[in-house]
């Protein structure tokens, strides 16, 4: 490590900040790009059906479509409210 490096290390490099921000953003955009266009709409309608019977809020549901080889899996995750508290 040189003398210059010592001074350089003392301030956070803006390039590393840029890289970190980019990596997060690009990963997110790639995953949303690969989703079919109907997924958000499907999620909305499913939520409406479930809400007819159970009192769940919007954040309690996640939907995910995964592709492994020839098989596509639609994964639906709903966190039901605690029955004792209702």
């Amino acid at each position: 490590m040189s003398l210059l490096d010592y001074f350089r290390a003392s301030k956070t490099s803006s390039a590393s900040l840029a890289k970190e921000r980019l990596q997060i953003l690009v990963a997110y955009e790639r995953s949303s790009d690969s989703q079919p266009a109907y997924l958000p709409e499907l999620q909305k309608e499913l939520l409406m059906v479930i809400q007819k019977y159970v009192n769940v809020n919007k954040d309690a549901m996640t939907i995910n479509l995964e592709q492994t080889g020839n098989r596509e899996t639609l994964e639906l995750n709903i966190v039901l409210p605690d029955p004792h508290r209702v």
């Binding site: 490590m1 040189s2 003398l3 210059l4 490096d5 350089r8 301030k11 490099s13 803006s14 390039a15 590393s16 840029a18 890289k19 921000r21 980019l22 990596q23 953003l25 690009v26 955009e29 790639r30 790009d33």
Partner: protein, 269 residues
């Protein structure tokens, strides 16, 4: 068999037209019959960079609409007789370009030329879509800067899904990275994304790094592709890029900064 190269980036101002002009001239100088097409209908600029703006009579839209024959619209380059330019229209809008029209032009050009270089407009609309749709190879021009890298990644997604090769399920478009406006000094001081930072995100085959260079502006002022300025670093970078694309093995340059004396003094490597 002709090879169609699209020069693309998504973001504007990163050096697509500079690159299109340089590599098409480079390919022609290497003895390959080459044509470069401006797809930026309404905002044409390739003619200016190539220095043929006063010789434009007909343009690509005239050819598509049947108002002129293809060889009437083609302009022979003044520096190299193996290079031709097909200008964009300045008066119409981008929707004047049609898929069928472009396909027909490319088919006709493929009979005569070895390389067809498509200079894409910025953005992801009709002009950009048609510039890349028929491509065999994509030169993705990226600046070491967040918005440019993000847009390049978006373009890679489109190349993989919205091209003819993708739709037909053929071998995908070959994608190459051209990292332009690179400043090793600023990378070293931590101000600029480095080549490896960009590669960590895009992971493309690197065709070359083009350093930030004064000669790009002076060449465009004069209307000569920067590759003809053989003494300039940017000109040499483009010459390397063309040679590597054609299969020559040339070591990468312009990645490390030049002032080795001070770096040695302070222990840099």
């Amino acid at each position: 068999m002709a090879r169609i190269i699209v020069v693309t980036s998504g973001k504007g101002g990163v050096g697509k037209t500079t690159t299109s002009a340089a590599i098409s001239m480079g390919l022609a100088k290497k003895g390959h019959k080459t044509v470069v097409i401006d797809f930026d209908v309404g905002l044409r600029n390739l003619d200016l960079i190539m220095g043929c703006e006063r010789r434009v009579v007909y343009d690509i839209i005239n050819v598509i609409n049947g108002e002129a024959a293809l060889n009437q619209a083609l302009i022979k380059d003044k520096n190299c007789n193996l290079l031709s330019i097909l200008p964009a229209s300045q008066t119409r809008n981008k929707d004047a370009l049609t898929l069928e029209g472009v396909e027909k032009i490319l088919e006709e050009l493929a009979k005569e030329f070895k390389y067809i270089v498509c200079d894409s407009p910025a953005g992801i609309e009709t002009g950009a879509h048609l510039a890349m749709y028929f491509a065999d190879d994509a030169f993705v021009v990226t600046n070491p800067e967040v918005s440019s890298v993000r847009d390049s990644d978006r373009m890679l997604g489109l190349l993989a899904s919205k091209s003819r090769r993708a739709e037909r399920g053929e071998e995908p478009i070959k994608e190459y990275l051209l990292l332009s406006r690179y400043s090793p000094e600023r990378v070293r001081s931590g101000e600029m994304l480095s080549l490896s930072d960009v590669q960590d995100i895009l992971s493309l085959h690197l065709l070359g790094v083009i350093p930030e260079s004064k000669s790009v502006l002076t060449s465009s002022n004069a209307g000569t592709p920067v590759i003809l300025d053989e003494k300039s670093d940017a000109g040499q970078a483009y010459a390397d890029i063309v040679a590597r694309y054609l299969g020559e093995n040339r070591p990468q340059r312009f990645i490390d900064d030049k002032n080795g004396f001070f770096r040695k003094l302070f222990g840099g490597k």
